[in-house]
């Protein structure tokens, strides 16, 4: 039976709660209602209100309380109803959770998860990709799965991890992506990218929902001119799998980075710098970026479609790169 990306997330939490009594969930409307997107549906009935906690609309308190609980040896999984609202808990994440182990050795094993990304006409406050605020914060981990398998395996690994993890689930993929999942327990290790398509002529580095237009563009390119693109799905943004990126850059000599996040300060810049430092002699062209422009995420369909990268824009950039 195929499992959707959303169901994979639900299964990961469910199974970890069954396995480990220190795992619990808290957030807004996650109990009786089962969550705004139904990720926690049925959990209240199964695990009871002590472990499935409906909270006030207080992201700062949700994350703060998760930190306190994590310091007590629990493994809280806190839901942000939309990841846009994680900004309300910025201090708790960047100053409390992120720095605690470094300061006095106490880890903060918690997961803060929530739906990110655009493509569903959510407008400026229900479509954001806030990963880089946190990728810039040593002490946090940041993951962004693109497949149902990774959604489940990365979340299990995040829950079991002894440091704080921000888990970005792309709402566009929730019910659009599905696959058969193994019956047995599995995890996807944090900090390891996946090569989704092998290639020799150029490398496309991406993550999250952008994986799919990247694969589409790669297929177009091959059909058009026989150019073989390697597509790397980062899966984890922090820690970043620099090894896989650099190895591919050395192999193909041409790299482009695609992300739905806005351009300035996006992870593409960090990847380009890493390639400059570690694979400069192998490069046959500049590291190109295909990203959202530096604007808020607009609401109206023609605006959002203009804002988001897509297979056409990616293929255009890839043609330019291949021509070098």
């Amino acid at each position: 039976m195929t499992t959707t990306y959303l169901e994979a997330i639900r299964q990961a939490i469910w199974e970890e709660m069954e396995k480990d009594p220190s795992v619990f969930v808290l957030g807004e409307d996650i109990g009786a209602y089962g969550g705004a997107f139904k990720v926690t549906e049925g959990m209240l009935q199964k695990f009871g209100e002590t472990r499935v906690i409906d909270t006030p609309i207080s992201e700062g308190a949700i994350v703060g309380a998760a930190i306190g609980a994590a310091l007590m040896g629990m493994r809280p999984v806190a839901e942000m109803q939309f990841i846009d609202f994680i900004s309300c808990a910025f201090d708790q994440l960047t100053n409390f959770a992120a720095k605690n182990r470094y300061r006095w050795g106490a880890g903060v094993p918690m997961v803060v998860r929530g739906p990110c990304g655009g493509g569903v006409r959510g407008g400026p406050f229900h479509s954001q990709n806030p990963e880089m605020y946190f990728v810039h914060t040593p002490g946090l981990k940041v993951v962004a799965p693109a497949t149902a398998y990774d959604a489940k395996g990365l979340l299990k690994a995040s829950i079991r991890d002894d440091d704080p993890v921000i888990y970005l689930e792309h709402k566009f993929l929730y019910r659009r992506i599905k696959e058969d999942l193994p019956k047995d327990d599995f995890v996807v290790p944090l900090g390891k990218a996946a090569v989704r398509r092998e290639g020799t002529d150029l490398t496309i580095v991406t993550y999250g929902a952008m994986l799919y237009p990247c694969l589409e563009a790669a297929a177009t390119l091959e059909k058009e001119r026989g150019a073989k693109a390697e597509v790397i799905d980062l899966r984890s943004l922090l820690p970043l799998d620099r090894e896989t990126i650099v190895a591919s850059a050395r192999k193909t000599g041409k790299v482009m980075v695609v992300h739905e996040d806005t351009r300035t300060g996006g992870i593409a810049g960090e990847i380009a710098a890493t390639i400059n430092e570690e694979a400069f002699d192998h490069l046959d062209g500049p590291v190109l970026r295909v990203t959202a422009p530096d604007t808020p995420v607009p609401y109206s369909a023609p605006l959002e479609d203009f804002f988001l990268p897509n297979a056409v824009k990616i293929a255009d950039a890839a043609r330019k790169l291949v021509a070098y």
């Binding site: 906690i53 006030p56 308190a61 703060g64 880890g107």
Partner: protein
């Protein structure tokens, strides 16, 4: 309860309306220029809430140690032997010691920057503090953070603070929640905010969160009149922060923060409410910060009359007068306590100074879990 005379419960129905207009007294009046509500509360006699003589003297020793330790830290700071910020709790020792003393050892405690006394009660030693302030490798943070920014949940039930005010309020609500989830519902959690941090969003979010989930959480507000240089009338329009208790649906009290026994008794009542499953308590303690925000601050903005009024209410002197008057101590025995502490502090400071600093490469270690950084290294098991 004997100590109730020095405190007041604030029933919802009698919440006072804030003053209709300006809170600053007219020129020429007694306490001119002093915002209303900043002068000391009535000076009532201390009342023993049922503590043994040994306990009374132990409280005294902690208060004296609190003061002398900070005096020593100040001297070291002026000699350039410690760096960074040094925040004094002069005039507030009764709050740290009285609240912490009312907790059981496994109740969860999160100090803020002026609560060195709370940590002393929990068993943190002067050597620990000296090493921490001197940035030594063997300090609770390996030199990566300073001041009172450290803890150990497993061994001392202490959660260390960060500098961002109010953040500990939801964190400690979460600690109480976790205790309940772990089947340890008897464990209360307690933390502190100043009058200034009552203005933060986290104060509201955390207290409301604790109220809604009926957590055994005690939020102590040390109303010391000033947030850095800003007077408390620029933080809130209520006469007492305890008035906010009914608004959150939690118990609240306001006590004289210079009366260690009143602070102790009020905390005890809050602990008992928590253990009975009656939820959170908001406890205001009134005092004046008798030194600047930190050592660099000459606090010329504090009116002399205000300082003089509160100087007469020195919590340590008040308590010593009580101990002598009630026959639990004599001036000689009190002096002997101080004389025993002094060489202990000198020896600890010298010992800390001889400890090695961290190696520069220590900078890169322990951001994430790795060998040697799986759990707090301090205090040694």
């Amino acid at each position: 309860m004997a100590a109730a005379s020095t405190s007041r419960l604030v029933p919802a129905a009698t919440t006072k309306k804030p003053a209709a207009s300006g809170r600053v007294r007219r020129p020429g009046a007694k306490g001119a220029g002093i915002p209303k509500g900043m002068m000391p509360p009535p000076d009532r006699p201390l009342v023993n809430p049922g503590l043994s003589r040994a306990q009374l003297l132990e409280i005294h020793r902690f208060m004296r140690l609190n003061r002398m330790l900070e005096d020593k830290l100040t001297a070291l700071y002026r000699q350039g032997r410690i760096s960074g910020g040094l925040y004094s709790s002069l005039g507030q020792e009764a709050i740290s010691v009285g609240t912490a003393y009312a907790l059981a050892p496994d109740d969860l405690l999160a100090p803020m920057i002026r609560n060195i006394g709370s940590m002393l009660v929990r068993g943190v030693t002067p050597l620990d503090f000296f090493q921490q302030y001197m940035g030594r490798y063997e300090s609770p943070t390996h030199g990566k953070d300073g001041t009172l920014h450290f803890g150990n949940v497993e061994r001392l039930s202490i959660i260390g603070p960060i500098s961002h005010l109010g953040t500990l309020v939801p964190v400690m609500a979460g600690a109480a929640l976790a205790a309940r989830l772990r089947g340890e519902a008897h464990r209360c959690s307690l933390t502190y905010v100043g009058d200034g941090a009552t203005s933060t969003g986290y104060f509201h979010e955390g207290l409301n969160f604790a109220a809604v989930l009926k957590l055994p959480f005690i939020l102590v507000v040390e109303n010391n009149g000033y947030a850095y240089s800003t007077t408390c009338d620029r933080q809130f329009r209520v006469a007492s922060i305890a008035e906010r208790g009914p608004a959150y649906g939690v118990a609240s009290e306001s006590v004289d923060g210079t009366d260690v026994l009143a602070v102790y008794a009020a905390t005890q009542r809050a602990v008992q409410r928590g253990r009975r499953g009656e939820g959170a308590t908001l406890l205001e303690t009134r005092c004046l910060r008798m030194q600047g925000h930190a050592q660099h601050d000459d606090m010329r903005y504090v009116p002399k009359a205000l300082l003089e009024a509160w100087a007469k209410r020195d919590p340590l002197e008040r308590y010593e007068r009580f101990l002598v008057a009630s026959g639990h101590a004599t001036p000689d025995t009190l002096r002997a306590t101080a004389e025993a502490i002094a060489p202990e502090l000198d020896a600890a400071a010298d010992a800390a100074e001889k400890c090695p600093p961290p190696s520069p490469e220590e900078t890169l270690k322990g951001v994430y879990k790795e060998e040697g950084y799986e759990a707090p290294w301090w205090p040694a098991a």
